[in-house]
């Protein structure tokens, strides 16, 4: 069955017990495949699935057409002549302002922003979560509550004070500054994630290590880290997609030549000069969406676990 359902151990348990209890024929009563109920059920789900798939389909189809074909046909029709030129153009030649080296620049900028931001934010948050779960001190829960409530404050409220702080430190507009910003705003959700995970580990382990004389960092490095690989993967998925998709911080905290991919994409597509090349725009959009989509399709159940852990407090 599905991964979410494994959370529901009660239902799974009763399913496993049922065959041994029921005398006579085993298993569920076979149902008619084409009952009215099933047609309704799969009909509605299928329609909904179509609605969700439509934009992806339109993106792919449009990005493979030439401009003349787009001007003639409708956006849903499959391409008559498949061309990969829009993709090449979006990647290597599309213009933003004076630069005409395409989205590749934004892609590499995003990679440069994402990799250190993901590592730093996860390290900092996992240590905080560990300290909250295992080494509480007076006031630690209060700080944590402020952190969680702070997660709901609109970024616009805190953005200017951060600009000032970074400017005072002399790192406004640099990569370091943006990494700090991503670490700050990734903190609430990640700390919550790690705190709940570490708190769910058996306490005896921690106590045994304490008796053996291990200290704060030793327990973290030798016991907690190796035991919590899955949660690190979940945190990584959250952060990779989150930071890749970020737009606001990219606009505010970087300079035009270090703009991340989302910002550059928006500038390419919504630029007012020149003839609109819809196929190039859609290819560029797909390229920008590709990284989180790949992460999503590869990670599947872990992605769901990440957002569920983030959303439903554990």
């Amino acid at each position: 069955m599905a991964d979410v359902s494994t959370l529901n151990t009660a239902a799974v348990g009763s399913d496993a017990v049922r065959p041994t209890l029921a005398p006579g024929p085993r298993g569920r009563k076979p149902k008619r495949v084409l009952s009215r109920r099933n047609i309704m059920l799969y009909g509605i789900l299928g329609l909904a699935a179509l609605y969700y798939l439509l934009p992806l389909y339109v993106m792919v189809v449009t990005s493979l057409k030439g401009m003349p074909e787009i001007r003639l046909g409708n956006i849903f029709s499959p391409p008559v002549e498949i061309t990969f030129e829009p993709w090449v153009k979006a990647w290597a030649q599309a213009c933003t302002g004076l630069n005409c080296d395409g989205l590749s620049r934004g892609f590499w900028n995003s990679v440069q922003i994402m990799v250190p931001s993901v590592i730093v934010s996860i390290l900092v948050a996992s240590v905080s979560g560990y300290s909250l779960a295992n080494w509480r001190f007076k006031g630690s829960e209060l700080f944590f509550s402020i952190l969680i409530i702070g997660a709901f404050i609109p970024y616009q409220v805190m953005i200017y004070p951060i600009v000032i702080i970074l400017r005072e430190m002399g790192i406004y507009g640099t990569l370091t500054g943006l990494i700090i910003v991503h670490t700050i705003f990734g903190m609430p959700i990640l700390t919550l994630l790690f705190r709940n995970y570490f708190a769910s580990l058996p306490e005896e382990l921690f106590k045994a290590a304490r008796i053996d004389g291990a200290g704060f960092w030793q327990i973290y490095g030798r016991i907690m880290l190796p035991m919590s690989l899955p949660i690190f993967v979940v945190a990584m998925i959250l952060q990779v997609t989150g930071i890749w998709n970020d737009f606001l911080f990219g606009v505010v905290f970087t300079r035009p030549d270090t703009y991340p991919m989302t910002v550059q994409l928006n500038n390419i597509v919504n630029s007012v000069q020149g003839v609109k090349e819809y196929n190039v725009n859609m290819a560029a959009t797909l390229l920008t969406g590709a990284v989180p989509l790949i992460v999503y399709f590869v990670s599947g159940r872990l992605f769901v676990r990440g957002i569920a852990a983030g959303a439903v407090k554990g």
């Binding site: 239902a11 969700y52 339109v58 956006i75 616009q156 859609m282 439903v312």
Partner: protein, 300 residues
């Protein structure tokens, strides 16, 4: 509180020292950025700062100017329309999809993957795709017209009256998958025996959902509501990508107002006042929830 360290040490401050050192980033973020930053913004919203923040206090001037600005009023109206409709639709659609998914269907994983993938995409990508699909010449309007219905009018990109609904369509496409997932987790948390009892009593399925299951899922609904609500107030990238606030300023939203005044119009005071209003909105949503959630009992 502290689970460890011998009590022989006299100074309270140095107990559990490593943990405190490790928590410095968290404490810094909580106190300086979240708490301090918010207070700073609120305080400076009472000044007439323009290019740089200055402590020249002018009382409620900025707020008066804010509420006199037609652009701000439009922003608030748009956010209200978008917020209310997106709350209703995402809760209803999310719940219905989750309930359908919970009927022990085949291909559940396939359906879930399809419903949730837009959530992995950024608002920029979402906005640009829908800008293209809703394009009046080539998109839905153009296609329906070319099929023969010449007077068909559906142009949520350039028609100021319905532009916010175009953004709503895109926002729902991106976000309902998440609601569906949360609801599905909630439904799976309902005890199977409830369903059996309802069936024994002969209660039809839809009544069981409305009168038994939904009330039981109250915590899930509340959490979902808070998450959607907080996300709605932040609405920014989607508008920037899909319409850039246009046509004119028909699809402006508060978050965009704040950004434009702070970083482009160089009228910091207005930006601070507007962001304080956003903070107030969130506070109205969050405080009752936090009170209900954490006020009564102690967190464990």
């Amino acid at each position: 509180m502290a689970q460890s360290t011998p009590s022989a040490r006299p100074n309270q401050l140095f107990r559990n020292l490593n943990s405190k050192i490790a928590s410095i980033p968290m404490i810094f973020v909580a106190l300086v950025i979240f708490l301090g930053g918010s207070i700073w913004t609120v305080v400076y919203s009472f000044t007439n700062s323009r290019l740089l923040p200055r402590t020249n206090f002018v009382g409620f001037d900025q707020y008066e100017r804010l509420w006199a600005s037609s652009r701000w009023i439009i922003s608030i109206q748009n956010l209200a329309i978008y917020g209310i409709l997106s709350l209703i639709f995402s809760l209803v659609v999310g719940f219905v999809l989750a309930a359908l998914m919970d009927q022990k269907i085949r291909f559940e994983n396939v359906f879930r993957t399809i419903f949730l993938y837009p959530f992995a995409l950024s608002f920029i990508v979402t906005g640009l795709v829908w800008q293209w699909i809703l394009n009046p010449d080539f998109g839905i309007q153009g296609i329906v017209r070319s099929l023969g219905w010449e007077s068909f009018d559906f142009n949520p990109i350039y028609d100021a009256d319905i532009v916010i609904y175009g953004i709503l369509i895109a926002g729902l496409w991106q976000g309902t998958g998440l609601v569906m997932c949360l609801m599905l987790a909630g439904l799976r948390g309902i005890d199977e025996d409830i369903w059996k009892a309802a069936r024994v009593d002969g209660i039809p399925m839809w009544r069981t959902y409305i009168f038994i299951v939904i009330p039981m899922m109250r915590p899930v609904f509340v959490t979902t509501l808070v998450i959607i609500g907080a996300g709605i107030v932040k609405l920014y990238d989607l508008v920037v990508a899909q319409t850039s606030g246009g046509p004119g300023n028909a699809s402006e939203v508060p978050a965009k107002y704040v950004y434009d005044y702070m970083f482009q119009a160089q009228n910091l005071g207005q930006g601070f006042a507007a962001s304080t209003m956003m903070l107030l909105t969130v506070a109205i949503i969050i405080i009752p929830w936090a009170y209900l959630e954490f006020g009564g009992r102690k967190r464990g």
